[in-house]
């Protein structure tokens, strides 16, 4: 049973318990762990890790050049850290099979794993905890995608007798269709990462990156051959789930369906796959609307609507979502469902702004209050949309304030594309206010993982700001003609 299967099984158990005990915060935690899952099978974890290793190698190269006598000490330290990391992954893998053999004491392994998860998450930085649990994701995303596919198929099959509303067959078809595209996507990710890694002349850097890849491939080569065959006797649902799987709560069904929709969306396939994703998302929304709406369902339905708008946007039919989003927003408001309200408000603003209907977006912004929620990502999105509306309405000071808030609420190391977009609009608004933005804005943090991406995207805006600073109209026109600025 591979790591993804466990992870999904644990997520479903937790949602079961949360639904039975009516705890929406537990559901929120489960969904956040699903976000990690998604990053694993997406190849994003591999990318992040590869880039981090690159930047580490780059800094060490610089350090070694400046202080050659410390080169040995640095190498020693690096080897020590690698050994510690590998030991941690091995111990975690040993723990995982141990938890599934105890079948009577089902509540304890859950608590133990939750405690272990919290410990791991608490004392390490946010990047290392998923890389410990999912070594395949960090070293070989193609393998991770295969394992994820296997895990999803398995969970669908085990859950389908108890949940006839799941339509497992159609979801399984969707998964199959998406698998090849996802593997392609991940192979490209690996290829680009290896290319950018190969740019560094240092032998050490290359060994660093390929060594974990080799280790990962060799260690896990044994397991996928067994698990691909979908052996149902080793994966006992009772053992895995811990509760009687004969009656699944609607929350768990919705979570499983949501995972399938995420798999389809992450595959980034061609038109047929995107239409499949739209159908799947439609079915998810129908499921959500039919199920009893308790507060445990709030987060799940919020993400379900997000997935639906994303699917429709990829096909270009975003405006069709509006009636559904509006009725869902009304329901969420009446039921005091704050997370759903915030998410749906953001999606509605997005539909208006996509069509450039700023007048209607402005009316929605003025009528609908943003609820008081803890989720920073929703706040970041809201501030970005409001900032954009204000910028079009020539209210530049308000727009500047909103966009700065959006930058502050956005995650520091992830969500590069969002931060780049906000930065670009921020630079334009500052120029329109008459101030020249400072240079640090265009470069990002110096040794950040995504610094190179930020610099590359912001370069045309740096040229524009320079032209404005010098008052050089010729240069300004030249930059505008050459670059393709989306805003």
């Amino acid at each position: 049973m591979n790591v993804f299967q466990e992870e999904i099984a644990r997520a479903l158990t937790l949602t079961e318990r949360a639904a039975l005990t009516r705890e929406p915060r537990l559901v929120a935690r489960v969904l956040r762990s699903l976000g990690t899952l998604r990053r694993c099978w997406n190849g994003k974890l591999y990318e992040y890790r590869a880039r981090k290793l690159e930047t580490l190698a780059a800094t060490e190269l610089v350090a070694v050049e400046l202080f050659p006598e410390d080169a040995e000490a640095l190498r020693e330290e690096r080897l020590r850290k690698e050994r510690a990391r590998k030991a941690a992954t091995i111990t975690v893998q040993k723990e995982a099979p141990g938890s599934e053999t105890t079948d009577n004491d089902v509540s304890k392994p859950d608590k133990k794993s939750i405690v272990a998860a919290e410990d791991a998450g608490g004392d390490t930085s946010e990047g290392r905890w998923p890389s410990r649990r999912f070594p395949a994701a960090v070293s070989d995303p193609v393998l991770a995608a295969k394992q994820a596919y296997v895990a999803l198929r398995w969970s669908l099959e085990t859950c389908s007798p108890s949940a006839p509303s799941l339509h497992a067959q159609s979801l399984a078809d969707d998964l199959e269709a998406a698998l090849d595209w996802l593997l392609d996507h991940n192979r490209q990710v690996v290829a680009t990462a290896r290319q950018s890694a190969a740019r560094y002349e240092s032998e050490d850097a290359r060994n660093e990156i390929t060594r974990p890849a080799l280790n990962g491939a060799s260690a896990t080569k044994a397991s996928p051959q067994e698990s691909v065959s979908l052996s149902k006797d080793t994966a006992n649902p009772r053992q895995a789930f811990g509760v009687v799987a004969s009656v699944l709560q609607p929350e768990s069904i919705a979570v499983l369906h949501l995972l399938v929709v995420y798999f389809l969306l992450d595959a980034h396939g061609d038109d047929t796959l995107r239409l499949r994703a739209v159908d799947c998302a439609d079915r998810l929304i129908a499921l959500l609307e039919q199920s009893p709406r308790r507060h445990t369902m709030d987060e799940i339905s919020a993400r379900g609507y997000y997935a639906m708008t994303l699917a429709y946007e990829r096909v270009g039919r975003l405006a069709e979502c509006q009636p559904r989003l509006f009725s869902a927003y009304r329901t969420a408001f009446v039921r005091r469902d704050h997370t759903g309200q915030a998410a749906l408000l953001n999606q509605l603003l997005r539909t208006f702004i996509n069509d450039r209907r700023y007048a209607q977006a402005d009316q929605l912004y003025s009528r609908a209050p943003f609820p008081d929620i803890r989720s920073n990502s929703q706040l970041a999105r809201y501030f970005y949309y409001v900032g954009r509306i204000k910028a079009i309405q020539l209210d530049y000071s308000e727009a500047y304030r909103c966009l700065n808030n959006a930058l502050r609420k956005a995650p520091q190391h992830m969500a590069t594309a969002f931060r780049v977009t906000v930065l670009q609009l921020l630079v334009l608004v500052q120029l329109l206010m008459g101030e020249i933005p400072e240079l640090a804005l265009f470069y990002g943090e110096r040794h950040a993982v995504d610094a190179r991406i930020i610099r590359r995207r912001m370069y045309p805006y740096l040229q524009i700001a320079n032209a404005v600073r010098r008052g050089d109209l010729v240069r300004f026109q030249r930059v505008l003609g050459r670059a393709r600025c989306p805003l």
Binding site: R356, Y358, I392, Q393, L394, D395
Partner: protein, 268 residues
């Protein structure tokens, strides 16, 4: 009313004849008073038919609203114009989707933009402009005119606007636009000048000298300005006050530096 009762069968026949009559009236733009009352009567009749749902034809509805907009422009009835434009824009969006286009669409979109500019609603002007395709200002002569006016307005080259030469369809907007421009100019004067002569202000605003006072009274608070004979003194509460004399400032900083030097000498 009489046309309706006479023709039994489709009421749309009377609607279309009413529309045609209205179109003919609107075409000869300076309307005498009896023609105007006839036009108003036709409009009322067509509104009733619209309310009863008998103008179900898309083209007929569109045509009706277009004619009402043009009548409203002639009467300088901006509220009515806004109402009819708001009914018209979704119809144009449908047209854009199906590919058909009304012959008056360019003109009316340009008139709407000009109205927003003249009423100094720049935010809404920009939001409307966003909805048009990017090639619109070059392709559509009725849009390039308000576009250039807006650029001049935002730049601050107000004399360009005050001495503008516009075609006949822009005439109702020109007075409103000039009033808006003069208001903007007055706010700029209040920020920029401490004092100015009435003659200068009059030449800038392209007004006779006697009207400058009335203009200032319309726009500014009485506390912000003061007319003293030939001069106008502008008072702004948050303007940075200049130092009374440069020598005073220098003396203060010299004294401060001497204190520091004495203190340092004592320490060292």
């Amino acid at each position: 009313m009489t046309g309706e009762t006479m023709i039994d069968g489709s009421p749309t026949v009377s609607a279309s004849t009413a529309l045609q009559e209205l179109a003919a009236l609107v075409k000869k733009s300076p309307l005498s008073s009896c023609e105007r009352s006839r036009a108003d009567a036709l409009v009322a009749e067509l509104k009733k038919e619209l309310a009863r749902g008998e103008l179900a034809n898309h083209v007929a509805q569109r045509g009706f609203h277009e004619l009402c907009v043009r009548l409203a422009v002639l009467d300088r009835d901006w509220a009515a114009m806004e109402r009819h434009i708001q009914q018209l824009l979704p119809l144009y969006a449908e047209d854009a989707r199906s590919g058909v286009q009304s012959p008056f669409r360019d003109l009316l979109i340009g008139l709407n933009l000009m109205r927003l500019l003249a009423q100094n609603r720049l935010a809404e002007y920009h939001m409307e402009l966003e909805l048009l395709p990017a090639t619109e200002p070059q392709r559509n002569p009725y849009v390039s005119f308000p576009f250039q006016v807006e650029q001049a307005l935002v730049e601050g080259s107000y004399e360009k606007i005050l001495h503008i030469e516009a075609g006949s369809e822009w005439l109702p907007f020109i007075e409103l636009l000039q009033e808006t421009t003069r208001r903007e100019m007055v706010t700029c004067w209040a920020e920029a000048y401490t004092q100015a002569t009435l003659v200068e202000l009059a030449t800038m605003a392209a007004l006779p000298v006697d009207d400058v006072g009335a203009l200032l009274a319309r726009v500014l608070d009485p506390a912000q300005y003061q007319i003293e004979g030939e001069m106008v003194r502008f008072r702004s509460s948050d303007r940075i006050q200049e130092a009374p004399s440069p020598r005073l400032v220098a003396t203060a900083s010299i004294a401060r530096s001497m204190e520091y030097i004495r203190g340092l000498e004592r320490i060292v």
